[in-house]
Amino acid sequence: MTTFLQQLFNAVALGGVYALVALGLTLVYGVMRVPNFAHGGLYMLGAYLTYASLTGLGIGYVPALILAAIGVALLAALMERVIFYPLRDAPHVSPMIAAIGVLFFLEAAVQLIWGPDFKQIPAPINGIVEIGGVIVTWQRLIIIAASVVVVVALNYFLKRTLTGATIEAMSQNREGARLVGINTNRVGALTFAISGLLAAAAAALIAPTLLVSPSMGEVMNLKVFAIIILGGMGSVPGAIVGAFLLSFAETFGGAYISLDFADVIGFAMLVLVLAIRPQGLFKRGT
């Protein structure tokens, strides 16, 4: 039972991080219809910017997280302007391939600047807490709390603010959005910025629990794509549900079936779902 609860905590924390990364990806897909393969690169960069802010600038964990999030957000918006916007009318494989180019560029650039070795980011609060016999690290609690806060904030932004509504409006009807006077170019850039922000925040949150490396974005990339396909591409609730489905499958599959094959289980689930329901679990109407 304790092991079970232990795993449950791990799964929730992991699911929170997956959700943050996947939400940005699904928003971008909804608004721009671009599967942004560079998204994992933004996540990875977020971890490195956090690391650099901590070690280079010597600032605290929270300011470092914020700085990294802002930096990556700006870069993502730039990417939209310079690459994806010009490619909006190109054949659909073009933006995908361009995004792959960006992913590798980011990876190589990070490796050039910070080297190929693993980096470690110290946890802001060390130690563990015991909750009802279950031992949890503070960092996991921070991850869970922070991801809840960010998801709630994002939800508030999308549902309660007019700017947030423009994002939803554009993903539901692009031309309708133009007709009410929404500048769809600006919304596109904004959505990319938000996706970068979320990815970097997620990276900064999870970084203290793992080793930071230039290739960490690749695996995450594949997982969040699996998540948004599972949830239905462009669907916000789908991304959250998909994130937890994957984290639970990985965590419990890893614990009770085989740790070696934890990653395989996630992708196998994806393949299985798609084989049965090619449109994902939450089909969007557009």
């Binding site: 190589a108 650039a109 992708f267 994806l270 393949v271 798609l274």
Partner: protein, 331 residues
């Protein structure tokens, strides 16, 4: 000069290379380029001709390579038997993937196949008992008789491998050219223009896509078998998405949907990568932006640019060759 005469000339020149007694290094680059080229030809069948972006390509390369390795090492088969069987296994695996994957289209197809690509790599990486896991497979032998044959004509084994790769490449080019120039191949081009249009033209889109997938993955497995016997050892890294993306880059540079592109791209990019020695680990600092610029400004690659230039220089042709198609998938 007619199209096929260029090819004969290129292959004749390439065949002369070992006779001048080049270093093993030069021959090694040649073999690597040819393996990559074969792989790119396979990708081109699906991406360039059929308009589908499969991101599990290196996985099938891995299936061919590992099948060859396992059959020769663990079952003691001769390479000459294991290789064609490995090709068949890759084609069959491609069929299985296609049966499911072609229920999806466009972005979802790409991402779905990417997921499968990762699974293939992970399974190879984790299935220690069969694949050697992280340690990989070691000690795969060169093809039986290749060394003796090479010696008998005064070459080293590396020269023998060079010719083996060259013949394999020639076979691939012939196969792909024939497929493209056929009734079947025309239907693939039709599918590239859009499923609905192809359907209404009376083409059984699903079955054509499946066969294109099998040809594509068979060629990938063919390259994989060659790779296994040439290198002698296998690791799972060469079977993952990174490898797929690398081939994609090579193909784009060379020219998507062209017959020369899958050879030109690897020839140029692999050589370039070798010469950017200091940059080896960071080659994507250059290649990443290059990929972006290519897809934005020259989506037809070198072969496409060449065709556009020559087309402009010559007076308006009365009947341009039918193979001169643009690479864009939209219609």
């Amino acid at each position: 000069m007619k199209g096929w005469m260029w090819w004969v000339a290129v292959f004749a020149l390439a065949a002369l290379v070992p006779l001048f007694g080049p270093s093993g290094y030069v021959l090694d680059i040649g073999v690597n380029i040819m393996i990559y080229a074969i792989l790119a030809y396979g990708l081109n069948v699906l991406l360039g001709y059929t308009g589908q972006l499969p991101l599990a390509h290196a996985g099938f390369f891995g299936i061919g390579a590992y099948a060859t390795g396992i059959l020769t090492l663990k079952l003691g088969w001769s390479f000459w038997l294991a290789w064609p069987v490995a090709v068949a296994i890759s084609a069959l695996a491609g069929l299985l993937l296609g049966l499911v994957a072609f229920r999806t289209k466009g972005d979802t197809f790409a991402i779905f196949t990417l997921g499968v690509g990762v699974i293939i790599m992970l399974v190879i990486n984790k299935w220690d008992a069969l694949t050697g896991g992280n340690d990989g497979l070691n000690g795969i032998m060169p093809p039986a008789g290749l060394e003796a044959l090479s010696k008998s004509v005064g070459l080293k084994l590396s020269g023998g491998f060079y010719y083996l790769a060259l013949i394999s490449l020639a076979l691939t080019v012939i196969a792909v050219a024939r497929a493209r120039g056929s009734v079947f191949g025309r239907s693939l081009i039709a599918i590239r223009g859009g499923d609905d249009l192809a359907r209404s033209a009376g083409i059984d889109v699903y079955s054509h896509k499946l066969r294109a997938m099998m040809l594509s993955t068979a060629i990938a497995g063919f390259a994989g078998g060659l790779y296994a016997t040439y290198l002698g050892f296998l690791g799972s890294a060469a079977t993952g998405p990174i490898q797929t993306f690398t081939i994609l880059l090579y193909l784009l540079v060379g020219g998507l949907g062209t017959l020369a592109g899958p050879l030109l791209g690897p020839a140029l990019m692999y050589t370039l990568a070798q010469n950017l020695k200091g940059l080896q680990d960071y080659q994507y600092i250059v290649f990443g932006p290059l990929l972006v610029l290519l897809i934005m400004f020259a989506p037809q690659g070198i072969a496409g640019l060449w065709m556009r230039l020559t087309a402009r220089r010559t007076p308006p042709p009365a009947a341009p060759p039918t193979q001169k198609e643009a690479s864009r998938a939209g219609s």
